[in-house]
Symmetry: D3
């Protein structure tokens, strides 16, 4: 692929990290997806949250923390900004007062990205945002998913008959034909449950659910090898809920569960996704009002950088 | 009025304040409004918030801070628990995912209180909760209102066509015939505005709007004398948004505006409402995730105690 | 065992977790131990603390965080509320000004629980509370103990001749015949010491002391297998000081020691206690004023849930 | 009074404020009161606290914040270190586990200061520490007192028969003949009360109690003029509980009461005490675990500096 | 003045305040001063700080908080974005490692703004930044200054022979002929001093120094009337150090001094500057690492909005 | 080695840890290095910081947290205060405004320690302080170094031509002949990089760079065995940047990198250095303004204690 000079992050050895506007990775912001290979976007919506809201502030603080990121991956050597055109595309439109309209607005925004051939890496927002994103990205057929989370997010309803919450997106996605359940793997599941049937939907449909108790008996490499086998070469979405990680490393989230895997294991697993056919990814449930010392926002930014490098690796040198 | 022994708060000279369950004022909690004169209730809903959510956590933290309250007002000498039957009636039902259903649920809860002759003093929640409360309490005709706030909350719509937000409750309440706009006074209004017409609705309908700039040229007594004249002897609701108070004293709120009146002036004004025909009151927009050292929750609890004493004063000795 | 319908926690899919009173696990609170199999209780006393006080606020904040707990254990499938009658019995009486009276009051409260056949799972308070609890539960003969802690808590005296502090409970318990020292195992001990003789008492009496340095060379399962062998089938108390866990996961405690085991290992070890003859358990030294983002309170609540499930497992289906 | 060169604070224009050990005012610490005119001392004891402990950490954090103080008073021009020999005498001995022993230890320490002719300015600690200090300083006859506080601290007993708490020191001091109640003025009293009789002791004995509601109708100068008339020319103790000041300015305290006077009014009133026969002073109830941004510790340090200047003014140039 | 449609802030009733990039006032950012009447800029430099650094993070957090600002001033009715072309011009270049180079870089940046006829309203940074700004703006002759501060900032040297710190800018500015000392007024000065001669330079040169002790005997209007008389109709700079305001309202600053004027008085005084010949303004010493709940950043943003409205008022409708 | 009674820390079983002045380890402070074997010193300088400053406050808060340390190492049994004369030597002189002068001042201070035969264990400050320390300690020839860090700190220049920052000390040290690059091992390196050549200098000169990715495939013992082989028996400096440790355990630092080794591994590695010829050590980049619950300061104090025990072990019993 021949390329013109690509947009580059501001150089922290010239302009201090604390200066200037906090775009994702200190990249230029641009309004149009035209010509962009990988779009970094925010989805500041937490209207699907059943307990502690706050993830609406995730995109701003993840952008802020992303100023700590430099330009090249120290292990893989991938230089994402040389390989692909990467830009901050701003935030998807949302309506904090109207859940159903927000779902429509978000889908519209991502449909436009898809129409321009952009691969989005999104910062949530609560986990419900994965549903409208999938409605856009999987509009032409179900996709596989590598899903890191403490929770399966395949519940049916909340508070009576509410179908759309951050606890239900992937049940809806299966029902709507957006996910191929045989190509879904969930990693890190744990925590007390409402009912013995809580995971019946996931299992009956063929999700591979890897509890943390299984996880710790294996290596991160081993887990990811299995995940790769499950999603195979087909189109795959990656969804990373930061509550998959232990609350000591990711305190800024709405539904913490004691006893998750570590942020280091998270990074290693994300790195292990290189070569998959990734059509998009998200990092969700970073909730700054509950964060300490911006630790979770920094984690979110780091995971976005890892995802970016994995996706950019597919663009060749 | 003859009375049997009334429920009393736990005695902090016997059971330390940090012990036991944090009900409002350390009063007994009871499920039924039967026999209750004044009901302390929570309305943990912030789905009408256009910016920073968090007021859903208000009732729990205000209850927690209310353990600091003792039994008798040190200025007026009112002993509210001797004069009236006061109890913690728990929280109104809400649905954090569904704004319209929450409005219905809240109205239903307060209609039941009203049917039992209870006067509710509520802890929000965002300011939208005043609307469903008024739908219950003013079901039989419009009421007056003493409204403390930095914002008039009479905007029309947000994010397109959304009628119900924490910026619109009192426009809706006038339109629905719940408020008699000639008997409404708003105290403490300030802050930059969207449009020169922002306050047209309030003024055109006859609200008396007292900006902080006018406030500081007068005394709190003087302001309250005018407020009393405006609402007169008719049925009156009192709504206290903590953002009326300066953010240094009320940091834990979603839409702080620099330069409010002081918490001391707030207490003096509330005390000045004694003798009015108060049918209910609320303290809203306490948002614990943004609070520091629980200061705003303590302020909310103190304002509820002041309101309680003012209302209890009407029950005679 | 035939049972009538048991009390159940409030359902978070109907009533949001942030609503209502924060009882332990959102269970009903009841004043009497009559008919209760497992009693969740608070002991808000930190008068034995030699350095940073604050654990007196532990019960309230652990209750608050316990709203995150659901109903069934995701690994063992134990549904504790179906197997046993579980309730929040409130807080033991304490006197923050009078250590000796507090010891008497606490013992009296637990003697009553024991008399009713309740198994208590307690939230401290500092570690001194284990002594008056043991005085009640082991009144009829010494018990074994599985003790998780960074510190042995078998010092002799502080500040001259003070026998009763959070650093001395288990020396006193041995001296008073409450603990069978041959059936005591301490897990996670670490940190600089006052004197080479600091652990002489524990060792001379036959405690098995497992330092963290030994711990990390073995698996949690292995450790627990040894612990089970040590306490055997006799009556056993479980005492969990949260400072056993690394300060990054348990910052809210009075005497943090760098380098503890993880919260995940803690949960696994507690799960491994199933089938022991547990007569009571506590989680102590959660100190909310030093906590961050309520992380340690959530950990305390989670450990209580794990302990509850282990004990409830003994009640059959 | 002829003097040799006096000890001086470290010069912040040479050694930055963040460097070196945080003694009070960056003065030399010395072990002996020999030759010291004014002793700055800590009393790290909060065992008399009935609700939220933490004031034991007051002396350390007040010392830390006192690095912000410079050398000369900007209004009065008093250069305290030129007029008097001022030193940090360290902390009084205390026993956090034993209230009665702590009272004895504190009295002993202050008796020694008094024997050497030192005037102590103390950083608490909770308000109970004023009692053992007065036992030392008023051993030879009752003294007057200017007392700034939200609470009268003249209750009788707590938790049954406990005579010694931070709510009772001045009742005890009157009973023990340490205070001349006719020469006591209390400024800033407010907040809900337990019982109508709460202030009977103070009033019956002749304390002048100035509620905040009276305070705000007068000027700080006027209040202090009255206070001066009350205490007259006799020996006088000054006791400043930081909860006298509004919680927005003094959040780091155990028993905050909404609606106090301002820190500026506090400083003006302390300045107004110049010329009185002050035999000692304290600043109590600074509780760092509840503080925000060290604001209350800075306030405590500033009040100590103001007190120091007032006392030093009596030493002539 | 004929004008094309001016850039406008994003509309918070369409795009929530928490969405999008945090430019100043949600205005468009632009790289060139071409065509800009009033430039909002950041100067993220705190290398002149002698005690607690952190003001380098001021511009980012003030921008973040400025999302709370709406479009029109509620008292004066000034619509600044209609009257003038206002834009976020980004941050001045700085070098956190090299003070002298930073001074040069900052001066260069502001010289360019001046060359384009922009009036800058700057967010610091520490107070030293006013010096390089004045070197640019007063290159063609000395200007007057209205200076709000707790400190005169006219010291001579620190740490030996260092001439350039945040405690010395205005002495240097006088020496360099940038300020006309007869047209300088300092408002809010207070706090202990190093030496009786501390203010000699200011006074000897003719600064009008208004201590807080004088301030509180007069009204804010009266103070500003005097300030207006002092600076007259000549070119005038406005410098606002947030530590002028009480630390309870402005905790996030490096050198807090207890007892400042209120944020409301600050706003009133800034409003009173309308009609002066203001050539530039700054708000400095907002230090986010020491802030609580972003209160001081919000204050900084509000003061910038007030300054903006005052300056825009000069552009006519 | 014959010794007189050595200075000992204050006994926490007599004087509570929260009492008294916070010297390092509660040891006596002394002004002169005369007779001191191991000097604990602070270097409160962060002028080399390219992003978030704050490490200037490290020494004070590490001293504060060091009150948690007791007297004897629980694993090795080393009683450092019996083996060696250890004292708190105060802080090195620094100038927060002048980087080059600070380098000179720090070197002078350490040269004096070296001249007296003291081995310094220092608390930073940012990592630039290692350079002036090495200039003193390695004045007579290059030394080896065991370096724990997330960053190699061998960059060349920042912000144009600035040679001296916290990202460049070890390149300078090699260039100046202070380090023998063949005897340098760096442990824990990770994080995104500016350029593929970032580590060329380190590698070309012969540093052994152990990335975290290699680290986790080996044991801490194995790593340290290699480190010992690399530095051999020659004079060796130990430099510990707390950002080597995971940000969940060391949040209070300026340049956190997700995914470090644990504090427990850190302690084990430091213990493994016993027997090396250590001429000095530092713990740097503890930045209290970004810390949570003083966790990182406690970690810093614990690492200093571990280093102290390792060095004291060399003094024989």
């Amino acid at each position: 692929m021949t390329k013109k000079p690509h947009p580059q992050p501001q150089d922290a050895a010239l302009i201090p990290r604390f200066a200037g506007l906090p775009t994702f990775m200190r990249l230029p912001m641009q309004a149009s997806p035209e010509g962009v290979d990988i779009a970094l976007v925010g989805v500041p919506f937490d209207g699907g949250t059943t307990n502690r809201a706050g993830a609406r502030h995730g995109p701003r603080e993840i952008r802020n923390a992303s100023a700590f990121m430099r330009k090249i991956h120290h292990v893989t050597g991938v230089a994402p900004y040389d390989r692909a055109v990467v830009a901050d595309l701003g935030d998807a439109p949302v309506n904090p007062i109207d859940l159903m309209e927000s779902l429509r607005l978000i889908t519209g925004f991502f449909a436009d990205l898809k129409a321009h051939g952009c691969i989005p890496v999104s910062a949530g927002g609560d986990h419900l945002i994965s549903l409208p994103i999938l409605r856009a990205l999987a509009a032409d057929g179900p996709v596989g998913m590598v899903h890191f989370d403490a929770h399966s997010d395949t519940n049916d309803r909340y508070f009576g008959d509410n179908l759309y919450t951050h606890g239900t997106p992937f049940r809806r996605a299966v029902e709507e034909g957006l996910l191929d359940p045989k190509r879904v793997v969930q990693i890190g599941i744990r925590g007390s449950i409402y009912d013995p049937s809580d995971l019946d939907f996931a299992r009956a449909n063929g999700f591979r659910v890897i509890f943390i108790e299984e996880f710790i008996t294996r290596t991160a490499e081993d887990i990811i090898a299995e995940a790769r086998a499950i999603v195979g070469t087909g189109r795959t979405y990656v969804s990373f809920d930061v509550d998959a990680i232990d609350p000591a490393q990711a305190p800024g989230t709405g539904t913490p569960e004691i006893g998750g895997f570590s942020s280091f294991e998270a990074m290693r697993m994300v790195r292990g996704l290189a070569g998959l056919n990734i059509i998009g990814a998200d990092v969700v449930e970073v909730s700054p009002p509950f964060d300490v010392s911006n630790m979770t926002s920094l984690l979110g930014a780091t995971l976005m950088f890892e995802l970016l490098c994995v996706i950019a690796a597919g663009f060749g040198d």
